[in-house]
Structures are given as structure tokens and as C-alpha cells.
């Protein structure tokens, strides 16, 4: 069916009621399929491995009429600036990048949050130079934790597909209206074929309504729009500083307000398997999949271990994590980065955080064999810490 004849439906219908069929596709193709139904006004691309294919495929959607505008930017900083301009003008936007591209664009991310732009983008996480590598590594997520963006972390292509579709409605709520980053581990998901349940009904999400924005969008005909929307901090006085401080607080508050919408679509911020076990593994992204295998191996050896999958990193589900770990005697946190940012997050919200055995941590593109997780659980081995 031509794109302009698709029926507009609510996000709730799209996620929970629309007809789906199982397809065997890559994570990049899952991004394309989510974008097909998302009623995107403009997508802007710049290639960087392992993200390139995703936005290339979104470009195919432009050719097919599913995305209204599409072009390749000059570099990642330009792309994120152009996306900001489009969002300020009141249209639905989408882009993606990863690793060094994320860092090149970085100034834009807190600016997006501060400007209250409901941009949805995907990060296909990758190693940061030097030395140069294109391989999977989630370290860029640690840099993005305090930009004011919301952050979801997909375990697999199905998560990626559903999280992208729900993100538009969450980000575009009047009380939220800040950017959402949907993160997925590069290559492990983007370049791997998996079974994904894809919406096949001829439907698309309802369009974005800029009239419900909590800030004025670009409208040269109607006051109060001004090119400079943020408060100037050009005076050395309490008033200008207080205005900026209050503005920053409002951005943080917006992420808290998103919780009700995230819960509505995601069901919960965490998933808990075998919650009564004395040993609990806490993970996000593909580290969850590896941990599932580790739990099976441990069970075969008579070791009782549970698993907490954290789906949302910002706003961080501190209360949920604290409650889920209340009975744990030992906590293992496997991660695909050297800094252990998830370990820090968990340690900051639970009492007696000496229960945490850090790691295993692998990085630089290394894989995480389940045997390594088992080794840390059983022996407290130091792996990459």
C-alpha cells in the first residue's frame, strides 16, 4: 500500500493490537521496519560503521515514500544540528550514529535536551578511539548518561524495533518532550539475523503535533517565537543564573515525568528472572543474552542465580533495582565496557553495595562467553575490572 494511504493509529494500537508476522532480519533491518511505521517527517544520515546500514535503509524508505525528507549531512555534528533545526520547526525526526560519531556530535545532545526537542535516535554502540576499532563496546553510553536524554538499551532486534516505535510517543508528550536515545550493541545486534515480530498491517503512527510542545516551535507568523529561545546568561547576576538553573531542573524533571509513559509501553523498567535466588546478575543490552546462558550453565551445576534485565538507563529505575536486589547476597554486573557504568549506577542506588562483584567487563570488541560470567559468579574472578 502506498505510504500516504496508511491508516493512522495510536502507539498503543501499533504495539499491542496491530497484526504482526515473524521475519528473520538483522537489527539494521529492524530499524528500517520501525521507521516504516513511524510517520517520520525527516531523517538525516551520516555513515559510520556499524550504524551505516540502518540509515541507508531508512533512505530506501524515503525512496518508497514512507519518510518525507531525507538527506546525508556533512558530518555527525552537522547531522545532529540539522536534526535539531527540524525538530525546532515542529516535525518528527529520526537519525542514528555510534561511537566516534556520537562524540563528534556530542555538543548537540545536551542542547537537544535543553531546547526540549523530542528527537528519537538510535545509537549502535561502538568502540571509542584510540586505537581505532569499529567493534562493539558500550562506553559511549557512559558519556551520554548526563546529557538529559532518555536512554533505552535493547537486548536484541525485537527490543530495538519495539523501543523505537514507542519512543516517539514517549518523547513527544507535552510533559516530557526531551530526546530519546535507543541504544543497541553494534554488530552483535545490527549485523545479526534474528526472528522479529514485525507489524504488517497497513498502519502508521499518528503524526507529531507541534501545537502540544511545551516550548514555542519555529513559527515566524505568531509570537512568542524568537530565534533565541534559551535564557541569556550574559549578565553577572543571580536572576540570570537562577533562570538557567531552573531550566536545567525542568529538563531533569521531564525525564521523571516520562516514567508513566515508559511503563505504559514497556511494561516495566526491569525484567526479573528467578527473583528469589541469592545470586543476582544485573545487565543491559546483549550482556543480558549472555547472562541468560550463564544462568542455565550455573543451574546445571546446582548454582541458584537470577537475572535482572535493565531496559531503561535514563531515567534510571533506582527504586525498582533497589527492590529487586533487596534479598541478594551477591550481585554480578557483566558489561561491554571498561568503566563499568552500569555497576556505578546500581551501586549508587542500593544499600550494602559491597555485595557487588564487579564484572566481567569486556571491551574493544571482545565477546563475553557465558563461561566467563560463570567464572565470576563462582570464583569472584577479576575479568576486565
Amino acid at each position: 500500500m502506498p505510504a500516504n494511504e496508511l491508516r493512522e493509529v495510536s502507539t498503543e494500537y501499533m504495539l499491542f493490537k496491530a497484526k504482526r508476522e515473524e521475519q528473520f532480519i538483522t537489527g539494521s533491518e529492524a530499524v528500517k521496519e520501525a521507521a516504516r511505521r513511524a510517520n517520520i517527517d525527516i531523517a538525516i544520515a551520516y555513515p559510520i560503521t556499524p550504524q551505516s546500514e540502518s540509515m541507508h535503509l531508512v533512505g530506501d524508505l524515503y525512496a518508497e515514500g514512507y519518510v518525507r525528507e531525507y538527506f546525508r549531512g556533512e558530518n555527525e555534528f552537522a547531522v545532529m544540528s540539522e536534526i535539531a533545526g527540524a525538530a525546532m520547526a515542529g516535525v518528527r525526526t529520526f537519525t542514528a550514529t555510534c561511537g566516534p560519531g556520537t562524540l563528534r556530535a556530542f555538543e548537540n545532545f545536551p542542547m537537544w535536551s535543553g531546547a526540549r526537542l523530542p528527537i528519537v535516535m538510535s545509537f549502535m554502540t561502538r568502540v571509542i578511539n584510540a586505537p581505532l576499532s569499529i567493534q562493539p563496546d558500550t562506553i559511549e553510553m557512559s558519556f551520554l548518561l548526563d546529557t538529559g536524554m532518555m536512554m533505552m538499551h535493547a537486548e536484541a532486534a525485537q527490543d530495538l524495533y519495539d523501543m523505537l516505535l514507542m519512543s516517539f510517543d514517549i518523547a513527544e508528550q507535552t510533559s516530557v518532550h526531551i530526546p530519546m536515545g535507543v541504544f543497541v550493541d553494534g554488530f552483535f545486534v545490527t549485523h545479526t539475523r534474528q526472528k522479529v515480530n514485525i507489524v504488517t498491517e497497513d498502519v502508521k503512527l499518528k503524526p507529531y503535533n507541534p501545537g502540544m510542545s511545551p516550548v514555542a516551535h519555529i513559527d515566524m507568523e505568531t509570537p512568542p517565537f524568537r530565534l533565541m529561545r534559551d535564557p541569556f546568561v550574559m549578565k553577572s547576576n543571580y536572576i540570570s543564573y537562577a533562570a538557567h538553573a531552573s531550566w536545567q531542573q525542568e529538563v531533569m524533571a521531564s525525564a521523571q515525568r516520562a516514567k508513566r509513559y515508559i511503563k505504559k509501553y514497556l511494561g516495566g523498567f526491569i525484567e526479573h528472572e528467578n527473583p528469589d535466588a541469592p545470586i543476582q546478575i544485573v545487565a543491559s543490552g546483549t550482556a543480558v543474552s549472555q547472562s541468560r546462558e550463564a544462568i542455565k550453565m550455573l543451574k546445571a551445576e546446582g548454582v541458584d542465580a537470577g537475572l535482572i534485565k535493565i531496559k531503561v538507563i535514563r531515567p534510571f529505575p533506582g527504586n525498582e533495582v533497589k527492590a529487586a536486589l533487596s534479598g541478594a547476597e551477591k550481585i554480578i554486573i557483566p558489561e561491554f565496557n571498561r568503566v563499568g557504568w552500569l555497576c556505578r549506577e546500581v551501586a549508587s542506588v542500593i544499600p550494602n553495595n559491597n555485595r557487588i562483584v564487579p564484572g566481567p567487563r569486556v571491551y574493544g570488541g571482545m565477546t563475553m562467553p557465558p563461561e566467563v560470567i560463570v567464572q565470576v559468579v563462582k570464583e569472584g574472578a577479576l575479568v576486565g575490572v
Binding site: P214, N237, A243, S246
Partner: protein, 190 residues
């Protein structure tokens, strides 16, 4: 939820209410001092606050004063009727540009330094309507931090946890309801 969104002055940079467990109201609810209540309860509360105030003041924002649709014009008329019924002043927020040090606090209010207008006019109850939600929250928090003004937000969207009292989905029918409740209270019928 322990945090109460009370009348100020709360002090130096008070927290954002939602960071301390205050949630926006659901449909058919409203919020008073951080607690979700039924919408009708809040309408009566706002009516009472307005009638008991010494110097209540409406702050209509750009979404009312620069719009020329029939809906916006009716909204403006309803604001004037409520203001007349409660002997309230009207001081507009025409735009969001900071205007220090030259703002004339007698004639306008600004979200970046709303305290100047509150102090200058000795406003004890301030009612925000037609202000974009982001700028409304900036102003509400600064007012709560530095003044003793009781704040009310009549929000057409999801409401404001930074206000002392806030309605959500406050369309023109809601304003008519508020007007009727005020009139009933004045007659002693409520």
C-alpha cells in the same frame, strides 16, 4: 511522597517537584500542593483561594494573548470574567525573552524573573494560563523559591506539579465551571 509543593519562599534553588516523587495528575484529576485530587475538588479549592486572596493576579501567556481563533477569544473573555468576579488583576506574559534590568513589573511578567513582578505588585495569588508548559514551570519554581505567592496553573495539557494547585486539560468548559463555582461560592451556595 514526602515532598509538599507549598507556598514559598522555599529558599535558595528549591528542587523540581517531580524529582521527589510528585507526579502529574491523571485524566479527571488535578493536583494540590503535590497531591493528586479529583478535578472538582481542585476547582473548588482554586475558587476559594481566589476569593480569599488580597491581590490575585492572572498571568495570561502567549497562547491566549497572541491567538485570534474563536476558541482563544472566548478563553480571553472567560479569563476577564473570572478576574472581574474575583476582583483579580491581569498582568500579561507577552513573551519569554529575559528583560532584566529594564522590565516594567507593573505591566508585565516574565518567566526568567517572575519574582520581580510578584514583589512589585505584592501579588499573593498568581494564576498562570496560556503559558507554554516549560516556561510556566520555570516561573512557578522561581516564584516558589523566592516569594510567598500562592501559584495556580490552569493548564490545557497535563498540568504542573511545580504549581501549588494545578488543573490539567483546562479547556474553556473548565473555565466556565470554575466561573460558576466562584459565583456559587459568592452566593453561599457551595
Amino acid at each position: 511522597m514526602n515532598y509538599k509543593v507549598l507556598k514559598g519562599p522555599e529558599g535558595y534553588l528549591p528542587p523540581a517537584a517531580s524529582m521527589h516523587g510528585v507526579c502529574l495528575p491523571e485524566k479527571d484529576e488535578a493536583i494540590i500542593e503535590g497531591e493528586c485530587v479529583l478535578r472538582d475538588v481542585c476547582i473548588k479549592h482554586i475558587a476559594k483561594i481566589l476569593l480569599e486572596a488580597k491581590n490575585p493576579t492572572f498571568f495570561p501567556g502567549p497562547l491566549v494573548i497572541w491567538r485570534t481563533t474563536d476558541y482563544a477569544l472566548e478563553r480571553g473573555r472567560l479569563i476577564r470574567e473570572i478576574a472581574k468576579e474575583t476582583e483579580a488583576n491581569i498582568i500579561p506574559m507577552p513573551d519569554y525573552r529575559p528583560k532584566y534590568p529594564m522590565i516594567n513589573p507593573a505591566v508585565e511578567i516574565n518567566p526568567n524573573h517572575p519574582n520581580l513582578t510578584i514583589w512589585h505588585n505584592k501579588i499573593d495569588v498568581g494564576i498562570f494560563i496560556g503559558v507554554h508548559c516549560h516556561q510556566a514551570n520555570l516561573a512557578l519554581k522561581i516564584i516558589r523559591g523566592g516569594t510567598d505567592c500562592y501559584t495556580v496553573a490552569l493548564c490545557a495539557e497535563e498540568g504542573h506539579e511545580e504549581a501549588n494547585a494545578s488543573l490539567r486539560d483546562a479547556d474553556n468548559n473548565t473555565l466556565k465551571t470554575l466561573l460558576n463555582v466562584i459565583r456559587e461560592m459568592k452566593r453561599g451556595d457551595v
